[in-house]
Each structure stands twice: as C-alpha cells, then as structure tokens.
Amino acid sequence: MQLDDLYREVIVDHYNRPRNFGRPEKWDIMVEGKNPVCGDEIVIYLTVKDDVVSECRFEGKGCTISIASASVMTESLIGKSLGEIRLVLSDFNRLLRGEVCQRCEQYSDAIAFQGVTKFPVRVKCALLAWKTLEGAIPDSGTHQA
C-alpha cells in the first residue's frame, strides 16, 4: 500500500483546480450533502434540458478526496440522461466497493479513485458528492447494470 494510491496526481489536480466549481446562476435541481463525521459539506446544482444534464456544478468544503471526487462527478455527468446518471452513480459505487468496473474508464478521471478502496476510512470522502446526488435521483442506489 502506497500513499500515492490515495493521492494520485489526477486526484490532487482535481482538488487544486476543481472543475465546474461554484454556484451557477440558474439550476433545476439542487442538493446539499454533509459528512457528519468530519463536517465536510457540498452542494450540487444540476441543469437538465430535454432529460439531459446540460450543466452540473458544485460548491463546498472538504478534503482532497471529497472535492476531487465531486469535480470528477460533475465532469462525468454532463451530457448524460437522467437514466444514464443512475448507471454512472451505481458504477462509481461499485468501483469504490473494490469491484471491477470497465465503464468507469469512460467517466472523466473516476478510475483514479480505485486506490481509495485501500484506505477504507476515506471511501466515505470519495462518495460524499455521489451519495448526495443519489438522494435527488431516486432508486439510483439499487440500480443494477
């Protein structure tokens, strides 16, 4: 086990330069999430046109892993239909459970989070944004691809 498995270069880069960061002027869906253990908080904004996510932004405070993961999530959701979002969410959950997920290669830099599974206490950090969004998109958690 290496600390580099956790702090992969792409992850640190997403943390230092989070993509789609900041509140947009308009949005269709807004969800807030908190990790009560550490006090991290995140807000996600989705704009949906014709059932497709045209914009996904976030703001919040958190550790390297939770912010980077949110950044990656926004990138991987833009352009997806709501149905596809459920698939992405369940794929990422599987990845963080240590399962093989080929599709995850296609979701921005999601695959970089594979190493987080070696640090079980940090899995929660990596899932904060995703679990938060799950709350706004019903039955995504149970979706089996």
Binding site: V37, C38, I65, S66, V121
Partner: protein, 413 residues
C-alpha cells in the same frame, strides 16, 4: 520522580504489536481514548477466567467474590477523587451516560421553565445535548459563557450571567478541542453563592490531572474509564449524597429497587438506586486496576509530565510555519492536547498522511460543532498526549507535518 515514557510503553502491548514499516506507533489520539496496560487487560481476562460471577445477588462463593471485587473498585474510585462517601460513586457506561443521568434525574426534578443552565462555548456534545433535551422537555434555558480571545472561560461574563435563575453550571474541566482547563474551584464558589449546583465534565481533565471533589466542592463529576487506561463501557458519576437522595431514579430495573409490588416500587439506597441492571462487572474491576496503575506512576508525576510535554509541544508546534493552533498558546491551565490546521491542508488529508508514518491523530469536529463554527473552521486535526508519549514524538509529528505539505505540493507538479 519524572515519568519514563519509554519504560511505560513497555507495559502497553499495543506498541509492540503495531510497528508498521519499521516505524513505531506514535499514538496521539488520547483525547478520544487511551491504550491499555497489561495489568488492565490481564485483570479482565483473569476475572473471566477464574473469578467470574454476578454481583449483589448470588449467595454462592463466586458471586460473593465478584461483589467484593466490584465494591472494592468503587472504593478505589472514591479514594481517587477523594469522595466523602463511597456510595457517592455511581458506575455508569461512560461520561455521556453520567451526564444524561444527571439531566434525567436532577434536571427533571429541579430545573423547570425559566430556570437557567450555564455552559461554556466549548462543551463536548455530551455536555450540551442532554441539556438541550432538558430544555425541550421543561422549557429551561441554556446560557453560554463567552470565551476570552485566548480561549479561556471569561470569568467576568460568568459572574454577570449567574443569577437566582441559575440552577446548574455544567462545565468541562478541560476542553477536548482547545485544551483549556477551567478554574473549577472558582466556578464552584461563584455558583454556590447563587445556590446553583455545578456539574464538572471531567472526561478530559480527570485522566491527566486527577480530581478532588471535596476540595473543589463540586456537586457532580462525570468521567470515563476508557480515557484513563481502563476498558470501554465504564464511567463514573460522583454526586453528593444529599442530591442523590433527593432525586428520582434514572433507569428502572434490577438492583435499583428495594421492593416491587404489582402496583408500585420503592427504590434502593445509594449508589444502587442509579445502577439498574447487571453492570459491566469485569470492566469496573479492570478500571480499578487502571486507576491503581496511574496512582503507581503518581498523579503529581503525571501532571509534571503533562506540563513538560505541553511546554515542548507549544514551543515546537507554534514555531512551525503555517500551523494554526486553536486554544491557549501558553502552558498554564492547559492540557497536552492541541487542535490545529496546517497550511490549507484539510485535516483528513493531514490525518491520512500522518497515519502513513504510523502517527495516529484525530481529524474532524471532535463532537463540538458549535465551537467549530466559532473557530471558523469545518474541522481540525488534533494531537493529544498521555503518560506513554515522549517529547521526541512531538519532533516526529513536526517533521511529518512538513512531509504532508511536500507530498501534496509534489503531487500537483
């Protein structure tokens, strides 16, 4: 006599068991819980292996022996905090349970609508939420004493807030976030002038400084075994006999009753009145061993060690560029517990990177969310020391913190 942490470490099996990548364990989460010496571990094992039975019930030999050990542990605790009477010591599940007991018994009986409970701004959730719950039940009001700019209790503000409406001052002996030690003697004196009672949350203070309930004249003292080398699931509530006798019981069940009819019951005498159900017998017996171990080291020596570590840590950590320490910056009236943030690195990242160097620190809000807001942060890292920590470990912490930065900076490139 000065403590020898190296020698003390040898009494704790965990340090030999947790060498990782050739690095010894630097355990700095003593504010959350402490490691256990062999005598404590052995005490539980020996009790279960050769002496186990229930307490206060059986007529047979084993039960009589267990009862003897259990009650001897109560005497050890009474002696440790200098209680006037052994029956003023109630065994609970922990400090949290002890405080809830007071809220549910003394609180429900004596604190009503419009009455006030005074707290500091830096209480652990365990000494806030039970009072917030009481507020919901009874309409009592919580009043918070301000802190001074260097994070000590503002005694002038306390004086101005005490009044005939004050029924209780519920205050921490030592903050689990700031390390601040409150002047309990003075607080008790001021509160008693207004006929208010004082509950001391001793969870952090008692393990590091001991406590004398008679010298301070506090009315309630709550603390936990697991933060002072003892097992989890055991705590203590000291309460003055006169109060114990005047309030209703807490939980109902076996042991707390004197006599039960189909239509009513009478309560047992102190301390059993507050000890419903079969207690954590083995835990209590092992806890007494932990106290004896601490007494063997000598409370005065523990205090001197704490002071030495505090001075050194303040010196070494405050001189580290980019560190922010939350709490008093001088060693007087302060424990060896330091909440901090380093550069703009999130406390979780700090804790993960330190963990890689086999250094255990806490990261998060430390069960003090309102205080985090006051401090203007979401979370902090926290390093808290105890009898087995050496000054050298502060240097290791300092050097490893610098690595954190280098690591995350490097990864950007």
């Amino acid at each position: 006599m000065a403590l020898d942490p190296r020698q003390i470490k040898a009494d704790f099996p965990i340090f030999a068991a947790q060498v990782r990548n050739g690095r010894e364990l630097v355990y700095l989460d003593n504010g959350a819980t402490t490691q256990k010496p062999r005598v404590v571990i052995d005490a539980e094992r020996d009790f279960y292996s050769s002496e186990y039975g229930t307490v206060h019930r059986g007529i047979y030999h084993l039960s009589a022996m267990a009862t003897g050990l259990y009650e001897a542990a109560r005497e050890t605790v009474a002696d440790f905090v200098n209680a006037r009477l052994t029956k003023e010591i109630i065994f609970t599940r922990g400090a949290t349970d002890s405080i809830n007991l007071v809220a549910r018994t003394f609180g429900d009986r004596f604190i009503g609508k419009g009455d006030e409970i005074i707290l500091s701004e830096f209480e652990h959730h365990s000494n806030m939420v039970p009072w917030l719950m009481l507020q919901e039940r009874t309409g009592a009001r919580l009043v918070y004493v301000r802190s001074t700019p260097d994070w000590r209790l503002d005694m002038t503000d306390l004086r101005s807030k005490l009044s005939s409406r004050t029924k209780l001052v519920a205050i921490t002996g030592m903050s689990n976030v700031l390390g601040t030690i409150n002047d309990i003697d003075m607080i008790c004196q001021l509160a008693h002038e207004h006929s208010a009672r004082v509950l001391v949350d001793g969870a952090q203070l008692v393990p590091h400084f001991g406590f004398d309930v008679r010298a301070t004249d506090c009315d309630f003292l709550a603390f936990s075994s697991h933060k002072m080398l003892g097992p989890t699931g055991v705590g203590v509530l000291y309460l003055k006999e006169e109060i114990g006798a005047a309030v209703p019981p807490y939980l109902g069940g076996g042991d707390m009753i004197e006599y039960v009819r189909y239509d009513g019951f009478t309560t047992n005498e102190l301390p059993y009145k507050f000890e419903a159900g079969t207690p954590n017998i083995a835990g209590v017996i092992a806890f007494a061993k932990a106290i004896e171990y601490l007494q063997g080291l000598g409370i005065e020596n523990i205090i001197a060690h704490e002071r030495e570590v505090t001075e050194y840590a303040l010196d070494r950590l405050l001189s580290l560029e980019g560190i922010e320490i939350y709490g008093p910056k001088t060693p007087d009236k302060r424990g060896a517990l330091f909440s901090f943030n380093y550069k703009d690195i999130h406390s979780h990242d700090v804790a993960s990177i330190l963990d890689f160097a086999n250094i255990a620190v806490r990261a998060g809000h430390h069960c003090a969310q309102p205080l985090m807001q006051r401090l203007g942060v979401n979370s902090t890292a926290r390093a808290s020391f105890y009898v087995y920590n050496q000054k050298e470990e502060i240097d290791i912490l300092r050097e490893s913190l610098k690595q954190c930065e280098r690591f995350l900076k490097h990864a950007v490139g």
